[in-house]
Symmetry: C2
Subunit: 345 residues, 2 copies
């Protein structure tokens, strides 16, 4: 009797080990760990000078018309690369239509913005700074502000040594892209798991990973960013509640004008998702439990049990990686040539 029990246990352990080997093997085919090395950029070589300059620009509120809104206001590096939500507040206390997407790991996305209208981060960087409901500046305000401070001009020269003049709106965007590309968060438990450490996830997280693949979540949420690669309608199986999917925002349709793109959005990247409530482009859902339940219903037509939901949420917590250490930049001092702030709408 005792022997038989031991034998049974051994068989179970063994098959469990095989199952776990299979799980890891399958996961490795679908997902990729975040590399430890900073990614390189097409047509925008990264140098220390450019990255440091980009960091200053990222934190400089004087690039907004009002002088109080910086990139970091909505993409706050202290709170998962997003703001408090639901959607962002900008110039004139205007409420934007969509939740701020995170800047962390955004370099791994196929395109930028919820509707993917910018092909890369340097194209993205030109958007919010000029949007009237966000930073409400102009390209001219940006370059005039930067050119008014010698220290900035010197830093542009060193970051873009071949360009005359060095301070341009394009180079502003390139420096921001270079900094943002360094904002990757490797070494999450799930990365350690994908790199072969079977103990990096606990049993509930492994069950959640299995469900995440079995239920179909991983058919969209995959790759390095566990999303961020494809464009998919929000509401494949069921129409989401109008609060979550307001009729006024038809997603990618505004970019392509193709009726097939109505309510189509870039698949949300799920890296560090546990840090980033509220969820969805409308920012109306405040817990991961609720977000997972909604996604399984409207995208997959599946009703998860409470346990399945909790397991998937436990897995999503394993996507929280190591955030880079950022020294808060001391910015160049304004001069009498620096355009004064304007609060006008």
């Amino acid at each position: 009797m005792r022997k038989a029990s031991i034998a049974t246990v051994l068989v179970l352990v063994s098959s469990n080990a095989i199952a776990h080997d299979d799980l890891m093997k399958t996961a490795k085919q679908i997902f990729k760990p975040i590399p430890y090395a900073i990614p390189t950029l097409n047509d925008n070589p990264m140098t220390t000078e450019k990255v440091e300059l980009g960091k200053m620009l990222f934190f400089d509120p004087r690039l907004s018309a009002s002088g109080i809104i910086s990139c970091n206001t909505c993409h706050n590096l202290g709170t998962g690369g997003v703001d408090a939500g639901p959607t962002s507040v900008g110039h004139g206390w205007q409420r934007g239509a969509r939740r701020a997407p995170t800047v962390y790991n955004s370099v791994f996305n196929v395109a930028q913005f919820w509707d993917g209208r910018a092909p890369d981060l340097k194209a993205q960087a030109k958007g919010p700074v000029q949007a009237s409901a966000e930073m409400n500046a102009t390209a001219d305000h940006v370059t005039s502000t930067l050119n008014s401070m010698e220290d900035y001009v010197g830093k542009f020269k060193r970051a873009f040594p071949r360009d005359t003049p060095p301070v341009t709106f394009d180079n502003f965007a390139k420096a921001l892209e270079a900094f943002e590309a360094t904002l990757t968060t490797p070494a999450a438990p799930f990365d350690q798991y994908l790199n072969g450490d079977g103990n990096a996830l606990d049993d509930q997280q492994k069950a959640g990973l299995q469900l995440f693949m079995d239920k179909g979540c991983a058919s969209c949420h995959n790759g390095i960013n566990i999303g961020g690669q494809d464009f998919v309608p929000f509401g494949v199986m069921e129409r989401p509640n109008i609060k979550l999917r307001p009729a006024a925002d038809q997603g990618r349709f505004a970019v392509t004008k193709a009726s097939s793109d109505q309510y189509v959005f870039r698949v949300a990247p799920l890296r560090n998702v546990a840090l980033r409530a509220p969820y969805f482009h409308s920012g109306q859902v405040w817990t991961l439990q609720e977000a997972v339940g909604i996604m399984s219903e409207v995208q997959l037509g599946a009703k998860l049990s409470e346990r399945e939901n909790n397991d998937i949420v436990a897995f999503l917590y394993s996507l929280s990686g190591r955030l880079p250490k950022i020294e808060y930049p001391i910015l160049p001092t304004r001069t009498k040539e620096t355009p004064p702030p304007s609060l006008d709408r």
Copy 2:
């Protein structure tokens, strides 16, 4: 002839050296260098845990009602501890009545705010967070927000190990005070000069220092902070332009109700003043040249020559010290108990 010239030069050099010794000696009686050591606080012992907690609170916008305004929004550590001005923008895009005072070296001031209505930094810390035109929160919003995040509660426990409960509005203010007390900027050229390095100021700066004392500026702007110690009417000799001294803001009169306190303000501390345009409580003057000219006229009844003005400005540039390196804090993650942001006015 040649010998005589050399002798003359020697006499001049020698009397120059004596004059410079006198200048340094006089300056040491009037001003004090910023100590390299972080100051200690009455009834609020500074610990690493408390300072680190205070830094998180300083940068956390979720302590405001809207979720987008932190202490750092108006006291931006990247821009001299102030915002872009002229006066601060707060909740609901409201424009405050006064320029944000710098948080750098504020620990050395005799009292806080332009009118000195807070005796210390922990009293000050409770003001803007509750002001409807600034962060528009309540003490309850602050403690509810902090209590909703375990990570914050743990940090309060370690910062205030004897207090039950650890998270209180008082302790929030004490942690902020502890962090802010670390924001000192030693080693400015003028500090090096006061510490005995005669070469730390150039000749123009020495001439400016001499004028700063001879003309009477130093009778108010003295001590460690080159100001920040006394309460003096703005407009001793002449009434300032109404744009600079709007009738609606009678300064310390609002605190004491004494008619002798009409238009009385705390003497502006001049440390790092070159980093902090625009100037005055109304924030209407964008260059140091203009500010120095106005002050000499309305406070001292003196009309400076252009050269005198430039020399004093050169001296003021020697007050820019070494800003502390700040690692941008990663903040605790919100939970479903965290109060959601509210933009309502």
